[in-house]
């Protein structure tokens, strides 16, 4: 008989047929008290930034020693930083990782934006940067052509997003139809009236 406060005697482990893609998925399907799930969620939030920094380093194929060399820390200091809690990190650590890995790292706190707020925020950002591009376009004719081409591409992409969302709406959107169609070169040649035979078929947008 074993002590109830000590783990029971173990048997030789055998592989089970269960497979999980994440730890969260495993916990959702196994007999684990809610207390553990709640605690894990809290720990996960407390180590979110440290985890992201470690992941960035690994994604760049760097060891902790190599990372340490880049940011002027020892391997053990990098290990401690990545294995610790976010409260032990400084903004300077985050900046060093961003600079060394030539990545842009954004850290935001507080209530996350809902979908509508996020879309509005992105739209304001797009407006700002597109206006910046119009200033760059004023430099010369070639630059203007590039900016024009980019605006065309952006216009197409936005329409494509709207078209996809429209298709996914349960009953469509009343009184509005958006259809984005990319006509292949072959299909364009099948319609000789639509294009000059020497011209490569462009992407055609139907709204």
């Amino acid at each position: 008989m074993h002590n109830n406060d000590q783990p029971p005697t173990k048997a030789t482990p055998a592989i089970s047929g269960r497979r999980y893609s994440t730890v969260t998925e495993m916990l959702a399907n196994e007999a684990v008290p809610n207390e553990v799930r709640t605690k894990l969620k809290s720990l996960s939030e407390d180590t979110r930034i440290a985890r992201a920094l470690a992941r960035l380093r690994v994604k760049h194929g760097l060891t902790q020693s190599e990372m340490g060399e880049k940011i002027g820390l020892s391997q053990s200091a990098v290990s401690k930083l990545e294995a610790g809690r976010d409260e032990e990190l400084t903004l300077s650590d985050v900046r060093k990782y961003a600079n060394a890995l030539e990545e842009r790292i954004g850290v935001s706190f507080g209530k996350p934006m809902n979908a509508v707020e996020a879309i509005r925020s992105h739209a304001m950002g797009m407006r700002h940067y597109m206006l910046e591009l119009t200033k760059i376009a004023a430099v010369d004719a070639e630059m203007e052509r590039h900016v024009q081409a980019f605006f065309g591409e952006a216009f197409f992409n936005i329409l494509e997003i709207l078209s996809t969302c429209h298709e996914k709406m349960p009953n469509g959107v009343e009184g509005c139809e958006i259809r984005v169609e990319v006509i292949s070169e072959q299909r364009a040649l099948d319609r000789p009236n639509s294009l000059d035979s020497n011209t490569k078929a462009p992407e055609v947008v139907t709204v």
Partner: protein
């Protein structure tokens, strides 16, 4: 894509620790999650390093309870990452007192199921 595959012993340990040591269990599971995230981003499983990961021989690795909070009992979750099948075999969970016997249990598991496997590296 990498997946987690528990052993029957690990599932028993998960249940026992869930009831008796929930804080320690949450701490090692958090570090398992961190390791798993790194593994998915890495080109080679053997390159994944972190302060909370310990090598136990024969390709067996363990995560400890680090960053889980104060006054936790030393706890390790043992596993074996098999590169060829992209599977992390979760073998057992144990405390410091049982470390020696747990490591032996893990070695037996690896030798039995992966006799010629060059471990995770």
């Amino acid at each position: 894509m990498w997946q987690l595959q528990p052993t029957d012993q690990y599932l028993k340990d998960l249940e026992w620790y869930g009831k008796k040591r929930p804080n320690e269990l949450a701490a090692v599971l958090n570090n398992l999650g961190r390791y798993f995230l790194l593994l998915k981003s890495a080109k080679n499983a053997g390159c994944v390093q972190a302060g909370y990961i310990h090598t136990e021989g024969k390709g067996v690795l363990a995560v400890d309870e680090r960053a889980g909070g104060p006054s936790l009992e030393a706890t390790r979750l043992y596993f074996f990452s098999h590169q060829a099948s992209c599977t992390v075999h979760l073998i057992t969970i144990g405390n410091k007192d049982a470390q020696q016997s747990d490591v032996k249990l893990c070695h037996d598991f690896v030798l039995k199921n992966f006799p010629i496997a060059p471990s995770h590296a």
